[in-house]
Symmetry: C2
Subunit: 227 residues, 2 copies
């Protein structure tokens, strides 16, 4: 509004909301009223609806007819499936990335890791998680696979939502070492190692989630009981 450097189209709003979800500023189950969002961004409901529909298509929000839009609450089943899909896509993509990575790419990845550590040091856990996801997406981009990168982008965003719901051991910074090890494999163009590291990294992530208990869908009722 004040600084219309970009078009305030629905894409911008969708990205802003997606970022907020990714950084856990919008917890799962949050209501996204069309009027409210429209007022925040200074646009009409028309463009807000377009943004929400796009987010619903990415499974980040759930649209309930005549009820409104809510930040999605991935089911246990969806959580497993998302990581299984990532396990199919990312290891092979990491191998391709290792085979064709350049010095510029490595420098960019290193900056990503540094930014992640900075965010973590500053106590911005949400932002650190977002940057951690960006690391995975960047690898797909380096592999020169835009189509797969798009899928991974979506899966990473959904993973962030899954982590928000099912995160178990909060203290463990498993990401840190895994990403460093991956960096080393990429730097020496060791595709086989990169593939293996990515595979175990994803398995680690999955095992850090509490996917055993909570068989019932964690509804907003949880907030009522917990708070």
């Amino acid at each position: 509004m004040d600084l219309p450097s970009r078009d305030t189209s629905s894409d911008t709003i969708a990205e802003d909301i997606a970022l907020a979800i990714h950084e856990h500023r919008l917890p799962p189950g949050s209501k996204l009223s069309e009027d409210e969002v429209g007022e925040i961004f200074g646009v009409s409901r028309t463009v807000v609806r377009a943004a929400l529909q796009r987010l619903a298509h990415d499974r980040l929000v759930e649209l309930r007819r005549n009820r409104g839009a809510f930040v999605a609450q991935p089911s246990l089943r969806e959580a497993r499936e998302v990581f299984e899909a990532r396990a199919l896509l990312e290891p092979r993509t990491a191998r391709s990335a290792a085979e064709r990575i350049t010095e510029a790419d490595l420098a960019l990845l290193q900056r990503h890791i540094d930014a992640e550590h900075e965010a973590l040091a500053a106590g911005e856990a949400g932002r650190a998680l977002y940057l951690s996801g960006k690391f995975h997406i960047e690898i797909a981009r380096i592999a020169d696979q835009d189509t797969i990168a798009e899928f991974i982008t979506q899966l990473v965003a959904r993973s962030s939502l899954i982590i928000a719901v099912y995160w178990q051991r909060r203290g463990a910074l498993c990401e840190r070492h895994a990403h460093h090890a991956l960096m080393r494999a990429l730097a020496v163009h060791d595709g086989a190692l990169a593939e293996e590291l990515m595979k175990s990294h994803l398995l680690d992530l999955l095992s850090s989630l509490d996917l055993r208990s909570r068989t019932a869908a964690p509804s907003s009722l949880r907030e009522a009981l917990g708070g």
Copy 2:
């Protein structure tokens, strides 16, 4: 309109258009005017826009700002990437499907194949292609992987578009034997064989495309010159 058995929501329209694209009734590059589509389905531009945006998100149509919606014309690069993504997802999914397939699933798959042959015999090549794609999606469903099935659904639709642009040897019915062989592997729960057959089937499909020539994007100019 006349038979409003279902809600004429944007999803229905998007599916109808997607089906037309899938069956090659709407060739790549076709203009999808909002007014025109709205008049055809008896709805306002509002709902048409929602449908077109959804299709654009699935990469079946391309939205050009202030220009309108057009049936997408996949680039050479996109064509390769789509089949590379399928090569990562489908073989392992076929293995899972083989391990857990039931008699009911087998019967359903057989009906799919029969319907495909009927369509082919009736000269409905487009419909046969659509059913052929459904076969792949059904396997992902049998594997009990909804998330991956969704990705495959999208990739299959895009494949249909790719075939419309880059199809080379029209006479070859490579699909037929490949799907039958897959059926046999699934029937005896031979996961390893199913995985291998799916892998080579996808490679066969890719090799049946003419991805060497036509480095420049085939625009609508081709119609003007060809017609």
